[in-house]
């Protein structure tokens, strides 16, 4: 008797066989790259500057804040301008991952109903797209950093682990919200308010040092508060991040990632019949 190429059996403990799942995910890695590329192309399809928007967007955004702080505010506080742009760019990595992720499953309906593949690829692609949008902003910030004369130091290498934590956080959030949206379709309309609240509750328009200790103790509940604070300390102030901040950010990102992934994988078999 020949060996079967594939065997489909009921899931044990609600999860698909992990080894096979990861292997088939790895085999399809080109899908994620191709999907992100076509999606970015399509988003800027027909616009005058095309893909140049990826750089123009952060440039225009920082121009607006330049206007706000330097021209209207009349101050020449380069730290404040640097903090605002750097934090906002990292915030957009997470916010874009959330907004891209929320409809990742529901809009992939045709593909999901027709093809067998690890569904987690779809929210993962949303995070990769957010990352592609983030990279140009990093370059824009590097230029701003130089122009406004912010300090440099070796401590700035902390930016690498902080970025990794931010990516895990963004991925976890995309996976979690894409799955929740299958069950509650109105989540996608609530999302703008959620990200807006997250924007105001996080140290972006203000610095973490400016708020009272009482409020700060409540910020333990905000997954990205200390992540953004650490980011600003490292890339704007060129200081080392606080150990507490790093632990807080890592713990939250791993928590969201694992909870989101478990929730997603255990529900994945449902998606084809729920769409």
């Amino acid at each position: 008797m020949e060996k079967p190429v594939v065997v489909y059996e009921p899931f044990r403990a609600g999860l698909p066989p992990m080894r096979e799942y990861l292997r088939s995910l790895w085999r399809r890695r080109t899908f994620i790259a191709e999907f992100s590329r076509s999606d970015l192309r399509e988003q800027n399809y027909g616009s005058v500057f095309g893909q140049l928007w990826l750089v123009l967007n952060p440039l225009l955004l920082s121009a607006v804040y330049f206007l706000l702080i330097y021209v209207i505010g009349g101050s020449s506080d380069s730290i404040r301008f640097g903090h605002l742009t750097a934090s906002l760019f990292l915030f957009y990595l997470i916010a874009n991952s959330l907004t891209g992720g929320v409809k990742a499953i529901t809009s992939g309906q045709r593909l999901i109903l027709n093809t067998s593949f690890p569904r987690i690829m779809l929210p993962m692609s949303a995070t990769v797209i957010a990352l592609f949008k983030f990279i140009p902003t990093l370059i824009v910030f590097a230029v701003i950093h130089q122009i406004i004369g912010l300090p440099y130091s070796w401590q700035m290498f902390w930016a690498i682990p902080i970025l990794l934590i931010a990516l895990v956080m963004a991925l976890g959030m995309a996976i979690l919200i894409s799955c929740i949206n299958v069950y509650f379709r109105d989540i996608s309309s609530m999302l703008p308010y959620l990200t807006r609240s997250l924007l105001y509750l996080s140290p972006i328009l203000y610095e973490a040092t400016n708020i009272s200790d009482r409020i700060k103790s409540l910020e333990i509940a905000n997954p990205i508060f200390f992540l953004l604070d650490s980011w600003s300390r490292v890339v704007v102030h060129a200081e080392a991040p606080s150990t507490y901040g790093l632990i807080h950010a890592t713990a939250w990102s791993l928590f969201i990632f694992f909870v989101g992934t478990y929730f997603f994988l255990s529900r994945e078999r449902d998606f084809a019949v729920r769409l």
């Binding site: 190429v5 009921p10 399809r28 593909l111 093809t115 509650f184 379709r185 109105d186 084809a272 019949v273």
Partner: protein, 268 residues
């Protein structure tokens, strides 16, 4: 779409292609078309049900051998599409076991296409990559797919500009051009114009070789009788009969007619 096509499977003619053993599929689905948090909160504590349990398949066992063209017939809700989805690995079974001995290409009811704002070309590539094909494999097949679909330059236009016939043509071309070991077609022949329907039927006939297995789901009994050499009849998730096309189709027709006359009697 193809899955597992990166696996070059060797098989002898008439060996087994798919075995389905005691297959059961039960799933929970939402009653609302669009489940929302709002609807949940509004009916909180009132004991209103939001989900229902569907028993789609019940102890179905089938073997499909290479060289077979298997037709699947049955009324709406008989479990035909569910069975195809389980065999293609889209929905995992709740009971039993499915073994597949080759590469599978499926063309299910919804056809090709993933993101309507992307071009036909992008969608073909994305669909292929999602199904596990490599970019080279898609490259090698792409021209043939585009040719067969007769879409011309429209292949590079966003899919939202396509008519339903164009959708159907592209979908069929993707599934049928790549020469899989096992081809599953679920009610996809009913769309498209007469000319393309004939072309796709001819393509299916071409694909009927000893080293390939075809599974067709259709309500067009005449087509099934014409193409298939074996027919399975499902009703309410159960296997009713399996055998020669003429016999099974006759039995199915009798069953449907009997139900029809019973209900017309009730009217009197």
């Amino acid at each position: 779409m193809i899955s597992l096509s990166d696996y070059n499977h060797e098989h002898s003619p008439h060996s087994v292609a798919v075995t389905v053993k005691d297959l059961g599929l039960t799933y929970t689905t939402s009653i609302d078309k669009k489940p929302t948090l709002k609807a949940r909160l509004k009916t909180l504590g009132r004991g209103k049900k939001h989900t229902r349990i569907v028993r789609a398949l019940n102890e179905v066992s089938i073997d499909v051998h290479y060289g077979t063209v298997l037709g699947i017939i049955g009324s709406n809700g008989a479990g035909k599409s569910s069975l195809m989805r389980v065999i293609s690995g889209i929905v995992p079974p709740t009971q039993g076991r499915v073994e597949v001995y080759g590469s599978v290409s499926t063309l299910l009811a919804l056809g090709v296409g993933f993101n309507p704002s992307m071009t036909g070309r992008d969608n073909v590539y994305l669909g292929g990559l999602a199904a596990g094909m490599s970019r080279e494999e898609i490259d090698a097949n792409f021209d043939a797919i585009a040719d067969f679909s007769e879409l011309g330059e429209a292949i590079d236009a966003p899919m939202r500009t396509y008519s339903s016939g164009m959708y159907a043509r592209l979908a069929f071309s993707v599934a049928a051009v790549v020469e899989p070991d096992i081809l599953i077609i679920d009610e996809a022949l009913s769309t498209g114009d007469v000319k393309f329907k004939e072309k796709s039927l001819n393509r299916i006939k071409e694909l009927r070789t000893a080293d390939r297995a075809l599974i067709l789901v259709s309500h067009a009994l005449a087509t099934i009788e014409d193409i298939c050499n074996e027919v399975v009849w499902l009703d309410k998730g159960k296997l009713m009969m399996r055998g020669k096309p003429t016999e099974v189709i006759a039995a199915y027709r009798e069953f449907v007619d009997a139900r029809k006359s019973a209900s017309s009697d009730e009217d009197v």
